[in-house]
Amino acid sequence: MFKLLEPNKIFLITSRAPKFVIALFIVVLSIGLLEALILSPEDYKQSHSVRIMYVHVPAAWISLGIFSSITLLSISGYIFKNKHFFLISKSLAPSGLVFCIVALVTGSIWGKPTWGTWWAWDARITSMLILAIFYLLYLIAWRIYRNKEQVIKITTLITIFGIINIPIIKYSVDWWNTLHQPASINIMSKSTIHSSMLLPLILMSAAFALFSLLIFLMKYNTELIKLKNKGLERL
């Protein structure tokens, strides 16, 4: 099964895919922005400030999803001794960090009109900040360690420690008294969000997912070319 993931086979797809992904991203983002900024209704309590949700929530979801994927890939790579998994993890991390920063900054902007403060050491905000620190540690480790075996061990350890934080972020609103409201969207039960607000949220989430795919493909291609550069030196 892992043979399907060999760089030689994948590169034929990943080198051509970005132009299609970017076109799709622009289309979905344009429709999403139109829905989020103009067509969707204002909230009866929060008025127009609720529109910040359409960038804040998808960014938070995707940054959590990317970190979980990085952890899964790192552990699988370690178990199955597949270095290609680490290359995929490394290529996913930059967009994960940017989405985490976007979630923190837009959350802070949303906090001012809603809670009257830019920042609070609330359980969810603090755990999101910790996630950003784990992303930074992960990326820094790839930069400073030159030894392949060493960097693989260290980055896997960072992801294992970091993944403990993911359920804390998810359930922080249920476990502690926080400024954040409980989840409005549930896969297992009925969502409490109205469909007129759910549509722009889904569209913006799709646009953000496409953007992270685009960045992943570009970064992955860069990493493969970097490896090929080393290969040319060895010829």
Binding site: N8, H56, M218
Partner: protein, 75 residues
């Protein structure tokens, strides 16, 4: 209508700054990754040009190298 959309009942500054920050972050990340990609690709091409015929033939036999070379010709 336009002023209403910009002002958003006094929340315009917050909403527009949140969306602007998001899009600016996306643009910055895209440019940074694109620069890294072009830099590595140019490095590959300049290294490839220094290879002798025998080594160039070996390099060309690899799928990824073929793809990098063919995509650079279309740019």
């Amino acid at each position: 209508m336009i002023i209403e959309t910009i002002n958003m009942n006094g929340y315009g500054l917050y909403v527009w700054s949140a969306f602007s920050f998001t899009l600016l972050s996306f643009l910055t990340l895209y440019v940074v990754i694109k620069i890294q990609y072009v830099k590595e690709k140019n490095k590959f091409l300049s290294k490839y040009e220094t290879l002798n015929d025998k080594k160039a033939k070996i390099a060309r036999s690899q799928t990824i190298n073929q793809e990098i070379l063919s995509s650079s010709q279309t740019i």
